[in-house]
Symmetry: C2
Subunit: 207 residues, 2 copies
C-alpha cells in the first residue's frame, strides 16, 4: 500500500502494479505536455522503468495507453453520475452533485480534469467518441430534460441549456487549472454554481 493515492482515486482499480504506474505517469505527462509531446521514453522514465519495451508487455501501443486512460476516466465518471442520480430525484440536486464532483476533482485530481476539459482527445483517439457524444454527457442532458419536464428548469433546448451551464462551470475550472484563477476551485464553487444554475432555473433569484 503506497501513500500516493493522490490522483488515482478515479483512475479505476488502484493497484501499485506496473501497468498502473505506467497509466499514472502517462496521465501526468499527457496533462502537462500533451499527448504528442510525450514519448514512450518519457513515460518509462516517469514510471521508473528502464526500458520502453516493458510498456509493450502491458499495452499494445502508445494509443492503447491513452485509450485505457480515456476508458477509465469515463467509466468512473459514469458510475459517479449514476450514484448522484440515485441520491435525489431533483434535477437541481443532481446537477449540484455533478458540479461538486467536478470542483473536487479539479482540486484533488487536476490531471484527470485536464484530460477531460483541455486535451483534444480526438487528435490522438480519433475512433473514440468526442466527449460531447459520450454516455456521461448524454446523462447530463437527460437530467436537464427531466428538469424541464418537472418545471425546475426553463423551457429551452436541453442541449443549449447544457451548453450554457457547463460553459460556465468548465470554463471556470479551466481557468483554475491553468492558474489564471489562482485560488483552489472550491473557493469559486458556490458563486459559480449559483451563476450556472440561475441561468437555466425557472425561478431564478436574479441575484
Amino acid at each position: 500500500m503506497d501513500q500516493d493515492i493522490d490522483n488515482t482515486q478515479i483512475a479505476a482499480d488502484i493497484q501499485a502494479d506496473t501497468p498502473n504506474e505506467i497509466l499514472l505517469a502517462a496521465l501526468k505527462l499527457f496533462a502537462e505536455k500533451g499527448y504528442f509531446n510525450t514519448s514512450l521514453g518519457d513515460i518509462a522514465k516517469a514510471a521508473d522503468i528502464k526500458a520502453t519495451s516493458t510498456i509493450y508487455q502491458h499495452f499494445g501501443d502508445k494509443q492503447a495507453i491513452a485509450l485505457k486512460l480515456y476508458e477509465s476516466i469515463f467509466d468512473n465518471l459514469n458510475v459517479s453520475i449514476d450514484e448522484i442520480r440515485r441520491k435525489s430525484q431533483k434535477s437541481s440536486e443532481q446537477l449540484h452533485g455533478i458540479v461538486d464532483l467536478f470542483f473536487k476533482l479539479t482540486d484533488d485530481a487536476p490531471y484527470i480534469m485536464q484530460f477531460l476539459l483541455v486535451l483534444n482527445t480526438s487528435e490522438f483517439l480519433p475512433k473514440q467518441n468526442p466527449i460531447l457524444e459520450t454516455p456521461a454527457f448524454a446523462k447530463v442532458v437527460k437530467i436537464i430534460q427531466s428538469g424541464i419536464r418537472a418545471g425546475e428548469i426553463r423551457n429551452i433546448d436541453p442541449i443549449l441549456a447544457t451548453t450554457y451551464f457547463f460553459g460556465i462551470i468548465n470554463n471556470t475550472l479551466r481557468m483554475v487549472l491553468n492558474g489564471e484563477l489562482d485560488k483552489k476551485a472550491e473557493v469559486y464553487q458556490p458563486q459559480t454554481w449559483l451563476a450556472a444554475w440561475n441561468l437555466i432555473a425557472k425561478k431564478s433569484t436574479c441575484f
Copy 2:
C-alpha cells in the same frame, strides 16, 4: 483575384502569393487534424506545392508557420476589438460587438475560431502567451472592469465575470464548430448573447 476569400478575411494581408497559400493551407489542416497530425508534406500538398523545401523559403520551420498564424489572428483580433471600443462607450455595446464578431467568424471563418477556441496553442507554441494572457483578452477584462465602474455590470471579480461570460459564448461556439449544435452560429446568437449578458449585467431582465 481569386474568389476563395472565405476564410482569409481576418488572415491579415490578403495576397494570392505563395506564403499566404501556405498559411491558409496550414490553418485549415491545423484546425481539422491538429498541429501534430499535420506534416509539412500535408501542407505542401494542400497549398499546391510539390516540394516541402519550398516552405522553408518562406518560413524558418514548421513552428514558424504556426507562429505567423497565431500573430495574424491575434493582431487582427486586437484591431477589431479596438475598433469596437471606439464605436461606443457602453460596456454592453462593446461586449455585444465582440460577441457579434465571434459569431460571424464562426460562420464565415471557422478555421480561425477553431484555432482560437479549440487548439491548445501552448502545446506547439510554448513560448507564446496562452490565449488568456493575450492583449486581446486583457482588453475584454478592461471592458468589463469599466462596465462595473459605470454601474452597468454587477460588482464581481472582473476575471470571474469574463470567465462566466465567455464560458457561455465560447462553449456555444465550440458546439457549433463541432456540429453538436447543427445550425449556423447566428441562429443561436440572440439568446446566447442575452444569457451571457444577463448573467453579468446589473439590471438583468431575468428572462
